[in-house]
């Protein structure tokens, strides 16, 4: 029921400070408000104070405790109570309004305050806000503004929930039985300022049901529902002398997103008329009229860094708890912005980094309630801080620029700096235990690097031309070393032994020389060469100087060295044959020479084997 309250008049009263509301009454079944008919009065004048209590449910009205009136005398008191009980669409709607009116006269000139009134109801206490009154000296008239305001005290709730404030003053239904009417409370709002859009059904026939409601598209607005009644509640109304019943179908808060003309398209509904199923007269379809808003841009003079979304009547506060933490223990910094406006579009500065405080990620929560037809939002930012040193650490002031669409001016909201007096941690306590979970998912691109580290680009050693030769060099060198060593050893042997070892090859060489002589047909030289081959062999291999021995001595020497006697005799015969052929005047035949060559080789072989 409270959500249905709302009008431009009430909004103006709220802003001017003449109506004060109990904060706790926002979501309760009781509303308590106090208002005066003026805020300036002469010392001998009177002012009217009205305290209005609205009860939205039945029960004991409770006890209203009037203010102490330390600065005023109460001239008169009166009270009236109004009850309304309606039964529509099968559901009851109850409303009780108790109005207490007091005539007050000030005791002295100067600034005076009317203290809060209190109401105890169902175990809860509601209070009005104090009202400041300027008391003027005798003979000085209140200002023209105050005079204008001095008029029969407007009940801030008069007409709310009824049709008395006449939202349909310019509606002329003509012959129509049923019509759909759309209204806004402000046709020239600023960007970001709330506009209340209401959709009413007016009918002079009985309405059974409303179906197929088609709401307009609101592309140029940020929209929030204020009221969407589930049942039809009729309000009597006379239009052009004809009684009508008015039904609120929808009420929405719209926040224009951009300046210029903004059109709200017609809404459409299907209406069932008649009494229940037996007396139904059928259904009709109705559409509302389009509405064009002239959205004003924000005036010039924006502060640097002002965000377009910060439109509204905001209040900023900051607190920290505890203020005297120990090192490593958590401190909660709470920044709260609340007021009338679109809190979801609000942009706040990030809490600064503070030396000596380790900051964890802040959490943000938004909360919206409907307060007398206006969206009242609260954004709470909570950040966990952990002191890292002792001493005084100051959390600096925070500031945010806003635009107040009612006062039409930019404001800078500021918090006070907060001093934390950080003490040492308790002995044995963990200096910085894990206090919050800061979930950091892996992945993402790495930031760039700032220092140019040059890499050395060179061909690897194994691809260099010197690598393989160098690898093969050691085994090759060792092989050369071994070969050279053996050669040196060979060169260092005894000449006698060398002669013995080379005797056979020397004899063979001479025999090959003899063969060449054979080809030249030089018989004497041939036989001489064979003789030298044999005697040379005997000298080298056997150590026998055949030239100085007789044939018998030669035989004895050979057999003495283990040679077979037959071999020794053949050798002697060959030597004799050679001598004979050399000095004989008759040259031997070629076949005989070749046979001699074969005989010499045979006997040399036998001697060598022995």
């Amino acid at each position: 029921m409270l959500k249905r309250i709302g009008s431009a008049l009430l909004f103006a009263l709220l802003v001017s400070g003449k109506v004060s509301a109990a904060p706790a009454a926002q979501a309760a079944d009781v509303e308590l408000f106090a208002s005066t008919d003026t805020n300036e009065v002469e010392v001998d004048g009177t002012l009217m104070l009205r305290i209005v209590a609205n009860y939205l449910s039945r029960g004991d009205p409770g006890q209203l405790q009037l203010p102490a009136f330390s600065a005023f005398d109460v001239v008169s008191t009166s009270s009236q109570e109004q009850l309304s009980y309606q039964f529509a669409s099968g559901a009851p709607a109850f409303r009780r309004t108790v109005t207490t009116t007091l005539a007050l006269t000030p005791k002295r000139e100067g600034d005076a305050v009317i203290e809060p009134a209190h109401l105890s109801w169902n175990g809860r206490t509601y209070a009005t806000q104090p009202i400041r009154i300027k008391v003027l000296p005798v003979g000085r008239k209140p200002s023209a503004r105050a005079q204008r305001q001095r008029q029969p005290n407007p009940d801030p709730f008069a007409g709310l929930g009824s049709m008395q404030t006449d939202p349909f003053g310019d509606v002329h239904p003509g012959q129509r039985d049923v019509l759909l009417v759309a209204q806004v409370d402000n046709e020239r709002p600023f960007v970001g300022q709330q506009v209340t859009y209401s959709l009413y059904l007016l009918s002079r026939v009985n309405v059974g049901n409303v179906e197929n409601s088609q709401q307009p598209k609101l592309d140029n607005f940020w929209a929030e529902d204020l009221e969407a009644p589930q049942q039809l509640t009729p309000q009597a109304r006379i239009l052009d002398g004809v009684p009508y019943q008015g039904y609120l179908l929808r009420k929405r808060a719209l926040f224009p997103l951009r300046a210029g003309k903004a059109v709200i398209d017609p809404a459409e509904v299907q209406i069932q008329t008649g009494f229940g199923m037996l007396f139904s007269r059928g259904s009709v379809k109705r559409a509302s009229q389009p509405i064009t808003l002239d959205v004003q841009p924000l005036p010039p003079g924006k502060p640097p860094g002002f965000d377009q979304g910060n439109v509204g009547q905001w209040q900023l506060s900051a607190s920290a708890e505890p203020l005297d933490p120990a090192v490593g223990s958590p401190v909660t910094l709470r920044i709260v912005v609340s007021g009338y406006g679109n809190v979801r579009d609000l942009r706040l500065p990030k809490p600064p980094k503070i030396d000596g405080l380790r900051a964890y990620d802040a959490t943000t929560s938004d909360k919206e309630v409907v307060d007398k037809g206006l969206i009242n939002g609260t954004r709470t930012i909570e950040q966990l801080l952990v002191p890292e040193r002792t001493g005084v650490i100051q959390i600096p002031a925070l500031a945010v620029d806003t635009f107040d669409p009612v006062q039409k001016q930019y404001k800078t909201l500021r918090t006070e700096p907060i001093d934390l007096r950080v003490g040492p941690s308790a002995a044995g306590a963990a200096a910085a235990a894990p206090l919050a979970q800061n979930l950091l998912a892996s992945g993402g691109m790495r930031p760039i690097r700032l220092h140019l580290s040059e890499a050395r680009l060179s061909a690897p050693p194994w691809s260099r031309p010197w690598f393989l030769p160098l690898l093969l060099l050691p085994p090759f060198g060792l092989a050369v070393l071994i070969g050279a060593s053996r050669a040196r050893r060979m060169l260092q042997t005894d000449p006698q032994q060398r002669r013995v070892r080379l005797a056979r090859s020397a004899a063979s060489k001479r025999l090959r020389g003899a063969q060449e002589l054979l080809a030249k047909n030089d018989a004497a030289a041939f036989y001489a060469e064979i003789g030298r081959a044999l005697t040379g062999y005997l000298a080298d291999k056997q150590g026998i100087a055949a030239a100085g021995l007789t044939r018998d001595e030669l035989l004895l020497a050979l057999t003495g060295r283990g040679h077979p006697e037959e071999t020794a005799k053949r050798l002697v015969r060959i030597l004799d044959d050679c001598d004979r052929a050399r000095f004989s005047p008759f040259a031997s035949e070629a076949p005989a020479r070749e046979a001699m060559l074969g005989r010499a080789e045979t006997v040399l072989g036998e001697l060598d084997r022995a």
């Binding site: 993402g444 140019l452 580290s453 040059e454 680009l457 061909a459 050691p474 070393l481």
Partner: protein, 256 residues
Amino acid sequence: MIALLLVAQAQLFSDANAAYLSGDVPRATAAYEALVAEGVASPALETNLGTAYLRQGKRGLAALHFERALFLDPADDDARTDLVELRRGNVDKLEGESEEGSSETLSRVLAPLPGSAAAVGFLLLWIAGWSLLGVRFLRPERAGVVGWAIVSFALSGVCALVTFGAAQGRKIALERGVVVAQSAAAREGPREQAVSHFEVHEGTTVRVEDEEGSFRRVKLANGLTGWVPAGAVEMVVPKSWSGGSSAPPASRAAAE
């Protein structure tokens, strides 16, 4: 003179970084590319260039420079992380049995091996072993040197294995390429008229097996093989880094 050149390069790198951080990514990219054109080979430069290209949406060039950063410094964690992140968004998702995947893994494993140091160690120990055998031959009375020779040969064997691994890793790296064109049709032969059975897209890493005219024969990690235009695939190791050995095997053989 060289000192002045180094100072100028460092200044250009700082300017490029400042441009990148201020959001002027094209200017940063141009400055990084200028350093590359001057012959600066730096993992940091290649990583930053890859990051800049990625910011511009050029995934292929970004992947190429991250790969180059990893070639220069296989332990570069930034380049490896960025490359993994980039590949998550690749168009080409390879399916089927991985034929070349193991070679890439092998390449990643082998790349950090200290190949050059191992090669030098192998050479020194090899020479020492043979020298000790020579001592044994010349001085038979020094029988103890044979033991030391065996130790030298054993250690040189270890170094030889490491050198071989590093050489294999380098060989694989020299054959790697990255698709830099947004997409390229892989054909059955090195001709525009040849039939195409699949496409490759920017950022995909391939093995370049051959080159013929203006086409390169590429093989994907799952074994898919085709001929793509040479300009669509950039070799990870440019010629200037490898002494002209980064060309595909066939062309290298032809050049030889």
